[in-house]
């Protein structure tokens, strides 16, 4: 299947913020190129590496030599700065009118991007969010406790914020470029709760949100994080958004 007609004007810029992803980056880029070429959508991959000491940037340069400078764009930064600023930094040189954000650690599979694009075109959605909680979506590698925390937090969020989207803390999404810029400017939180605020602000600004079920395969390499700090961050963000939006 290939893109045609009105679709051919659309370009999708895929943002990959990285920090110590030397093992995962080549794989994720290979898979993005494989699946995007198969579905025929015009695309570019923007790697925003925050000064990884493990050589992620060198790996990215090799990949740029293989796939070309028009396909792989490097936007490195000196050191680790917030996720929101990473997206802003990446968007500045994005040539696409749509932005896809995803994790580079292989927990998000690039084959879902084509589903996001089809969903976006159905009703011209401003945002399409991947969801682990409905339809064929799900997770791999989570034990009972992890699932309980995830479902409990999600239940509480749905109850208090009624966000109009089933997965708030996921970070696999497609945005219209100008919508993403507006959303980032209106967000105040840092860290992973930033993703939750983005969806809440989207609802507040009356943007339309579509959802696509995704499978989330928890880090095959490296460590997955869910500790006390994350939970406290989450509760604080939840209460803040509850009182202010």
């Amino acid at each position: 299947m290939s893109a045609s007609g009105t679709n051919s004007k659309n370009k999708y810029s895929i943002l990959l913020p990285t920090y110590n992803e030397v093992e995962n980056l080549p794989i994720i880029i290979y898979l993005i190129v494989k699946y995007m070429s198969k579905s025929g959508y015009d695309h570019e991959i923007i790697v925003i590496d925050d000064g990884s000491p493990d050589g992620t940037l060198e790996a990215a340069k090799q990949l740029q030599n293989i796939y070309g400078k028009d396909k792989i764009v490097l936007r490195p930064r000196e050191k680790k700065l917030g996720l929101g600023t990473a997206y802003i930094h990446g968007i500045q040189h994005a040539t696409g009118n749509f932005i896809v954000i995803m994790d580079a650690d292989l927990s998000h599979h690039p084959k879902a991007i084509a589903d996001f694009i089809k969903k976006q075109q159905e009703k011209d959605y401003d945002v399409v969010s991947g969801t682990r909680y409905i339809g064929g979506g799900g997770v791999y590698g989570w034990d009972f406790k992890r699932k309980l925390v995830s479902r409990g937090a999600n239940f509480l969020t749905q109850l208090l914020l009624r966000p109009g989207a089933s997965d708030l803390t996921g970070s696999f999404r497609l945005y219209k470029k100008d919508v993403l810029e507006t959303l980032i400017k209106s967000c105040v939180s840092k860290g992973y709760v930033f993703q939750m605020e983005m969806i809440i602000r989207a609802r507040q600004l009356n943007y339309t949100i579509g959802e696509v079920p995704i499978t989330f395969v928890d880090r095959l390499y490296g460590e997955s994080k869910l500790g006390g700090t994350e939970i406290i961050q989450f509760v604080r963000a939840l209460l803040y958004l509850f009182a202010t939006t």
Binding site: P26, I66, V139, L148, N154, T215
Partner: protein, 97 residues
């Protein structure tokens, strides 16, 4: 209106109705006959909601999809990616296994 204000308004209205009912005991026969039920209804409601929340969350934990197949496919594709990237001249940091 923020979500907090919405909740406060909703709870405020319910509280006002409840207050009215428990203080109108003398001139309302229905309240007189069911006084204890009405007096303890907020506690009952919180308890029932707690049970509802607990069962919904546990049901969703139990029915959370385990994507075994996705993990198997990913492992295969990682292998495929490593082989093909090596053919394209990519040098992995680690020595090839």
């Amino acid at each position: 209106m923020t979500k907090l204000q919405e909740w406060m308004s909703g709870l405020g209205i319910i509280f006002a109705i409840w207050m009215y009912l428990i203080t109108s005991r003398s001139h309302n026969e229905f309240v007189q006959n069911h006084y204890d039920l009405i007096l303890y209804s907020p506690i009952t409601c919180v308890f029932i909601f707690g049970l509802y929340a607990l069962s919904v969350v546990l049901y969703r934990v139990y029915t959370f999809n385990d994507c075994e197949q996705a993990a198997v496919e990913l492992a295969e594709e990682i292998q495929e990616a490593k082989e093909n990237l090596a053919k394209l001249g990519f040098k992995f940091k680690e020595t090839a296994k």
